[in-house]
């Protein structure tokens, strides 16, 4: 009887301790996790990008109508005003931006530490580690089992490589196909090679918020507005003419295209959603 009493009181004490442990954790758990948005808008010079309907002009004076535009954004880091960075966890840091799907153009980062941020950096493409990772680590946007012939095909099965940037369209400056249409296609990949060193077209891009500071807390959700200008692909560091390069995929010239598109992003402002 005595012993039973003792064990009962011990149990009660343990029970109480359990409640207390729970309680001390509670205030933390009550504060909702903070979020951060990256909104991409694709443009051609001063006009919004429209697929298949509008003819734009590049600096070589060539008229072109984009029909498809996709790119991978990965390895995102948010840079604090003190220069330190929040690195988004690897497994939630791969996004495929597709012009045909507006939902993909708005990235939401969850569980972002509260603080003040002045810039964002990301890799345009899929880094070499993930490009050679086990198939079980390639889910979502990285799943190689997508229709390769369709607009979303961003994977070369015969060399196991991701396409980082895909721009396709029509142009009177491109050679005519059987239907009389002139097609141009830029599929840019190459992460630097597995055993053998190859071209490395991975580009790290930093978008600074200028004088703006993105304040992140559970009640303010900033979304940085990033613009990608398709024109830069033709008119960047090295001007590229569609007539001279109607198709760029597996060629050393892909490095020139990549150098150009590395400059296509610019900061357009911050939008902050306030809740309480």
């Amino acid at each position: 009887m005595r012993r039973l009493f003792l064990s009962l009181s011990l149990l009660t004490a343990a029970l109480l301790a359990g409640f207390l442990a729970c309680n001390t954790n509670d205030p933390e758990a009550a504060r909702p996790p903070a979020k951060f948005g990256l909104d991409f808008s694709n443009v051609v010079g001063t006009q919004p990008l429209q697929l298949g309907t509008v003819a734009y002009k590049n600096a070589s004076g060539e008229s072109f109508t984009p029909t498809n535009f996709n790119y991978f954004v990965s390895n995102i880091r948010l840079i604090r005003t003190d220069g330190s960075a929040y690195v988004v966890p690897q497994d939630s840091s791969y996004f495929l931006i597709r012009q045909t799907d507006p939902a993909t153009q708005k990235i939401t980062l969850n569980n972002v530490p509260e603080g003040s941020y002045k810039a964002v950096s990301f890799v345009l493409g899929v880094d070499s580690l993930r490009s050679t990772a086990d198939i079980s680590k390639r889910t979502g946007a990285l799943d190689p089992a997508v229709d390769h012939t369709g607009a979303n095909g961003m994977y070369w099965s015969w060399n196991s490589g991701y396409i980082f940037m895909k721009l396709e369209g029509t142009s009177p400056s491109a050679p005519r196909d059987a239907t009389g249409r002139g097609n141009f296609r830029y599929h840019i990949g190459y992460f630097g090679g597995r055993d053998t060193k190859t071209i490395n077209n991975l580009k790290t891009i930093t978008v600074s918020f200028g004088a703006d500071v993105a304040q992140v807390d559970p009640f303010r959700q900033p979304a940085v507005q990033i613009q990608a200008d398709v024109l830069t692909i033709f008119d960047g560091t090295t001007p590229i003419s569609i007539k001279a390069y109607p198709e760029v995929m597996i060629s050393p010239f892909s490095a020139t295209v990549a150098k150009n598109y590395a400059g296509m992003f610019s900061y357009k402002g911050l939008k902050t959603a306030v809740t309480d």
Partner: protein, 367 residues
């Protein structure tokens, strides 16, 4: 006394409840993955796999494939085998992997110089026999794919091979009554993911080990390993003239080289198409010569129909700029061999045929 016991029990139950709710608060509930070999706790699924006893032949190097990421099970291998032999992997249900990779030809495509796929479409390269894939660093004539798990996507999506689309194929497999129990028993649930589909094909292909030719028995000093004097002379010549490239027990050093094939009719750039390095132009993977007597025609474009033609090529080749230095000794392209020596090398190459492999029921069509 009984009552007190009851109170004690109730209290401990309450305590357990508190601790449990405390743990799940805020974070996700994590369902543990089923442990292979242990029955899943969730009824009604009882899931039990049996490890496949994969063994490295004693005369072989260590495998390259990372088995830790894909432990072989009898159930996984059985699923992969069924997929390998299934026509539904092609867009119109006419071509399976095994259509082009036939067991009697050591899983090459006999009598086809170039790949032959759906709707009689012809590819640009000769087929490769399949064996000892666990030991290769890369695949295809140009080494374009370096991970066996990713390989099947290439033939499945190639418009001149199976011409399918992976999402459509995976959906068809999901819908198939035949595959649901096979995925269930291999992976513990019938969900068909890219990774499961590909890894089961790998599992089957990894079991395809060919190491029981007469040459192997000779190398391991086993019964049945006698070589004739011609075969032994051929082995000796082979080691002098051929084995710097067709090296070791795999009969390939897995490098990319040019062996002096004329380019008059074929401008395939080979390895360059993958690496874009000038020095890789017109180089191809040194193929394994295991079961080579079973896999005519030969070379990446199937230009030679007999081993005689191959040996004649090695002795009569003309200069090409990319020719491997090993084949340009004494300042002249080619290998010095008399006709009887060529016949001895061919006699030796014939000892690399593994008749047990070619007849092994575990690699043939299921049922």
């Amino acid at each position: 006394m009984k009552q007190l016991q009851l109170i004690g029990f109730l209290l401990s139950a309450a305590l357990f409840g508190v601790v449990a709710s405390c743990q799940s608060g805020g974070s996700e509930v994590v369902t543990p993955a089923p442990v292979p070999g242990k029955p899943d706790m969730k009824p009604p699924v009882v899931y039990q796999t049996t490890p496949y006893p994969w063994k490295k032949p004693t005369n072989f190097p260590d495998p390259v494939y990372n088995f830790a990421n894909n432990p072989l099970t009898l159930e996984g291998v059985a699923l992969g085998r069924t997929l390998f032999y299934d026509d539904m992997l092609s867009v119109n249900g006419t071509v399976s992997c095994a259509f082009c990779h036939q067991q009697p030809a050591a899983f090459a495509h006999p009598d086809h110089a170039l790949s032959h796929g759906v709707n009689d479409k012809i590819g640009t390269r000769n087929n490769l026999g399949l064996q000892n894939l666990a030991f290769y660093k890369n695949f295809f004539w140009d080494g374009g794919v370096a991970d066996l798990d990713l390989l099947p996507i290439a033939p499945i999506e190639n418009p001149v091979e199976m011409a399918h689309s992976m999402p459509n194929l995976l959906n068809a497999v999901r819908q198939s009554a035949k595959y649901r129990p096979l995925f269930q028993s291999a992976f513990g649930s019938d969900s068909v993911t890219t990774a499961r589909f590909l890894k089961s094909l790998s599992q089957f292909m990894l079991t395809m080990v060919s190491a029981n030719s007469r040459y192997d028995k000779h190398a391991r000093k086993e019964a049945g390993g006698q070589l004739t004097s011609d075969e032994l002379a051929g082995l000796n010549l082979f080691q002098q003239k051929c084995s710097s490239c067709h090296a070791g027990e795999l009969f390939t050093d897995q490098s990319f080289r040019n062996n002096g094939l004329s380019r008059v009719l074929n401008q395939d750039v080979g390895r360059y198409g993958i690496t874009l390095r000038t020095e890789d132009k017109f180089k191809f993977k040194v193929p394994s010569l295991r079961n080579v007597a079973r896999t005519p025609p030969y070379m990446h474009d199937g230009r030679f129909w007999t081993l005689n033609d191959v040996l004649n090529h090695y002795t009569t080749m003309q200069e090409v700029p990319e020719l491997d230095p090993v084949l340009r000794q004494n300042g002249k392209p080619g290998v010095l061999l008399t006709d009887p020596e060529k016949q001895q090398i061919i006699a030796f190459l014939n000892t690399l045929t593994d008749t047990a492999y070619i007849a092994d029921r575990q690699f043939s069509a299921p049922n």
